[in-house]
Amino acid sequence: MWNRFLNSTLLLAAFLEFSYIALAQTYGTPGYSPGAWKPDELPKELSQPKPFNARELSGVWSTPTTPGYFERHSLDDKWIETTDKKVPPQMRSNTSPPPMTEWGKAKFEANKVSYGPRAIEPELNNDPVSQCEPLGYPRDLWEANLRPFEFIQTPNRVLQHMQYHDTWRTIWTDGRALPKDPDPAWYGYSIGRWEGDTFVVESVGFDDRTWLDHFGNPHSDQMRLVERYRRIDKDILKLDMTLTDPKAYTKPWVADTITFVNPKVAIFEEICSPSEEHRFNDAIRDESKAKSKP
C-alpha cells in the first residue's frame, strides 16, 4: 500500500515538473495573444528580427522570473515569500524599505494586506485591488512579473500601457516641466528626457490612496519618482528607480536594478471588473472561510 502511495505521488510530481519544463520549450511567439490570435493567424513578419535601437523603447516588456510562490518585494528586484514556502537564498531580498516616518508607520499599520508576513484573510483586508480600485504607480509596474506592460514611443510622449487593469500612463517628452502644484492623480504626472541612451522619467503628483505594493508599503502625495530606463539589448530593458518621499520615509528608497525582457506576446485585455470580483468573492473566496455545510 505504501509503495502504491509513493509511486502515485512520485508520478504526480513527475508530470507536474514535466509540464513546467514543456512550457519553457513553447515560450515566445511574437504577437501571440492567449485566448485570441493563435501563432498561425499572425503576420509572418512579426517573427523577423528587427534592428536594435537603444533609444527606441516601444515594445512589450515583462520580468523574466517565473512568478509563483514569491511576490516582487516592492522596489527590490527580489522576492519575498508569501506563504510558508521557502525562498531560495539567491531570490531573497537584500534590502528593505528605508525607515518610515511616524506618518508612514501609521499608514503602513492601517494597510491590511493578504500577502506576505502580515497577511490576513482576504475578506478582512483593505487592499484597493480587492475592490478593483486603481493600483496606481509604481505598484502597477510590479505586476509586470505576471502581466506585461508596453511602451509606445511617439514624437512628444511615451505611453506606458499596463496590461493589469488596462491602464495608461503618459510620459511627456515635449520639453514641458513637471507641474508645480498638481492635483493628485492615480498615476501621477510624468516627464521624460534622454541622457545619452538612458531614458530618464521624473514623476510627481501621486494620489496617496494607492499603495506601493501589495505588502502595504505606503507613499504620500509628496512622493517623487525618478526612473532610468536603459535598453541594453534588443530584448532586454533595465530600470533603476529612486523613490523620494519625506512625508513617508526618512531617506530615499533606491531600488535594485530591475530587468525586463521582451516576452514576445501581445498585451491582453485584463480589466478588473468590480462586479465580477464581487461575484467571485461571494461564490468562492469568502466561502473558503466557511465551515463545511451539511
Partner: protein, 139 residues
C-alpha cells in the same frame, strides 16, 4: 459533520514540495493549505469565467447520496487562456475531477491546480506564466 470526498488515497492529501510554480493571488496562502493536495470529483453547476478571478462551482455526491456544494478558485482569464482554458471549457452538467489545495477552514473549497475532464483531457495551471507563455495542456 465534516466530509472529505476522495477518489484515490494515493492522490489525496499527498504532501510534497514542488519546484513548479503556482499562481498566487491575494490571500491564497491564507485561505488554502498550499502544501497539501486534494482531489475531488463532481458535476459542474457553474463555470465562472470572469476578471480578475475564475471559479468552478460543482456538486459532489458521496456514497450515501449526500450532496456537497464545492467551489474551486482559479486565476484570471488571461493566465487561463494561456493554459488552454476558455469560457466554453466547462458547462453545467459536465463531470470534472479537480485537484488542488484544500481550504484551511475545512470548507468545501479548493485552490485549483488541474482538472480531468470527462473527455479525458487534463488542463493545468501548473507552471504557466502569466506573461503569455503557451501552456502545454496535454500530457
Amino acid at each position: 459533520m465534516r466530509r472529505i470526498f476522495v477518489i484515490s488515497p494515493a492522490l489525496t492529501v499527498a504532501i510534497f514540495i514542488l519546484g513548479a510554480p503556482l499562481f498566487a493571488h491575494h490571500g491564497t496562502g491564507v485561505a488554502y493549505q498550499e502544501d497539501k493536495w486534494l482531489t475531488v470529483k463532481g458535476t459542474v453547476t457553474e463555470w465562472i469565467w470572469s476578471n480578475p478571478h475564475c471559479g468552478i462551482l460543482f456538486d459532489v455526491t458521496d456514497e450515501q447520496g449526500n450532496v456537497a456544494h464545492w467551489g474551486a478558485e482559479l486565476g484570471n482569464p488571461h493566465q487561463l487562456s494561456a493554459a488552454g482554458f476558455s469560457k466554453d471549457v466547462l458547462k453545467p452538467g459536465d463531470k470534472v475531477t479537480v485537484t488542488g489545495h484544500p481550504s484551511r477552514s475545512g470548507a468545501p473549497r479548493i485552490q485549483f491546480h488541474h482538472m480531468l475532464l470527462s473527455d479525458g483531457r487534463t488542463l493545468t495551471i501548473g507552471g504557466v506564466k502569466g506573461n503569455g507563455e503557451k501552456a502545454d495542456t496535454e500530457y
